[in-house]
Point group: C2
Chain length 338, copies 2
């Protein structure tokens, strides 16, 4: 069996650490791991499959002996480093937003559009967290009933903004409980015990960048004809994004069919038992690989309408896991050939 030399860029970040953990549990044959990070972390050690691997500073020349480079170093670093890594012969799978909408660069969720990987030129983009879990849930229903329109409101965790945001929620929460004034640094306003209807910056059209990612990435990966109306909201949850999704199908459907389809769908776990008050919840999604769907119910306000509630771990399926799964899928499809 062929084995692969893997680099992780941003190995000590929140998502990078998850990549190491997921890679460790995966069936991917890894002959060596090269953790790369900023200069100040050089020399630190990363444990992987019963061995310690030394962190090096990422830069030119570091990818000459690498087959697969998993990037989670932010858009700015990726803009510079990803082309270098590709030119040095590595296949780059990038978790940042830098390359997602670039024409000719595949944007992939293995459950949704694996065939897009075939056209890769060394660089593959990993989609935005809130889009990934939505499309894993939408894809099998789109195949069956053709989705015309999506109205989605998100309930997103702070871990999507990185380690500093997790600390901020923790610290602000304690301040408020202690009767002190909460200080906001990462977010423009207090996130503790609040809901912020802003994720990422505002664009000309009044939508945020996060909201428009959900529109554009859905068009690129699933179907350019699906209409998407998004509202992205940050809430005081550490980990696990939730989404309230309203769908309008072209074709008629029965709610039982939705259950049947989801029972067989890859990456999906149904949590929907109203007698037991069971539905997907952020706190249950932590450290889980699945996209959880529930509150499945017909929307009688339109002819072919469905409401659902979709939850997943934004650091796993929303980021690190999907990146590793892309690598696994490329190996399976024999697309990594150095």
């Amino acid at each position: 069996m062929k084995s692969y030399r893997v680099a992780i860029v941003g190995a000590l970040g929140a998502v990078g650490q998850q990549m190491v953990k997921i890679l460790e549990r995966s069936s991917l044959a890894v002959s060596s791991l090269k953790p790369l990070d900023i200069a100040q972390n050089e020399g630190k050690q990363v444990s992987f499959r019963n061995k310690m691997w030394t962190v090096e500073t990422s830069g030119k020349g570091k990818f000459l002996d690498i087959d697969i480079a998993l990037f989670s170093a932010g858009a700015d670093a990726s803009a510079i480093l990803a082309p270098i890594a590709v030119s040095e012969g590595a296949v780059v799978i990038d978790n940042s937003s830098q390359w997602r909408m670039t024409e000719g660069i595949p944007l992939v969720i293995p459950e949704v559009n694996p065939e897009a990987l075939r056209a890769h030129k060394g660089l593959i983009a990993n989609p935005n967290c809130s889009t990934i879990q939505m499309l894993v849930a939408l894809k099998p229903l789109h195949d069956a009933f053709k989705i015309k329109r999506v109205v989605v409101s998100t309930y997103q965790a702070v871990s999507g903004s990185g380690a500093a945001a997790i600390r901020e929620l923790r610290e602000q929460t304690q301040m408020v409980l202690d009767g002190k004034e909460a200080v906001a640094k990462v977010y423009p306003h207090q996130i503790a015990f609040n809901a912020l209807p802003q994720i990422d910056v505002f664009l000309e059209n009044g939508y945020t960048k996060e909201e428009m990612k959900m529109v554009h990435e859905t068009h690129k990966m699933l179907d350019p004809n699906i209409l998407v109306s998004p509202t992205a909201v940050r809430i005081p949850v550490f980990r696990g994004h939730s989404e309230s999704i309203n769908l309008e199908f072209e074709k008629p459907f029965e709610i039982e069919q939705v259950f049947e389809i989801y029972q067989k769908a890859p990456g999906i776990q149904i949590v929907d038992d109203l007698e037991k008050l069971a539905y997907p919840m952020a706190i249950d999604a932590e450290d889980r690989y699945e996209v959880f769907v529930g509150r499945l119910r017909r929307d009688p306000s339109i002819a072919n309408g469905l409401n659902l509630w979709v939850v997943s771990d934004n650091l796993l399926k929303g980021a690190a896991l999907n990146t590793v799964q892309i690598a696994e899928k490329m190996v399976e499809m024999n697309l990594i050939t150095r």
Copy 2:
């Protein structure tokens, strides 16, 4: 000027206390206040307009000298006590869900359907919190552009479930911060750092009672032809409900018209300055009387679509304030005549 003898039933509860506070600040001429509550609170004192008023146990005979009785004692107590109060000659304005959908009983938001008060037979129902703030925001737009369909996802505060829920959020949050396991008593699952897609009980059709309140109360108060597709979600916020609302109008509109309409609309405050990152937030709504609207933007996925974000204090406009405003409106309309 005529003055009124006012009773408050459930005067020591979370909403009852707010009623006393709001009544104190209101222009209503109150000649006497009778705080009523359960037997174990008898003899306690309530301060109102520089005088102390002694709590009595509510029951038969207590309403013979009362003009206006504001009820916030829950549905079960209201089922028994409200008819007694009416038979003893008081006008009852009830904050519970007990009478809202009963035919012949007005369900009123003064900004939305004050004329419904004219047909009252002594008992008026105060709507559900999540419906009130939604309809205050919808009414002026419905008048201008005729709303066909509403898709709404809520972000609701725990104070809607009363004082025990506020304690539960506080205690669970501290447990989680201290690395302990959170214990759930009021809610079926942990609310701290989580999102619960369930408010009130589940009904046959897969929707919760809270969700169907938003449907039925919209039909009763605003227009039975408006289609409403609701998802009601509890989030870890102490006070202030937020709502992500997607509207489809019958008539074309310009976004500037929406701003103009809201600038003149009663009870509405626009918070929408994207350059200053200003939008409505739960923490800013606390203790405020207004319904705050923002994130006003066209939804290009349909012909006449609008997305907006609506926030209000669920204990004030969502409960105590609207109840007092109904009383004020009835006085203004000369409908309290004993």
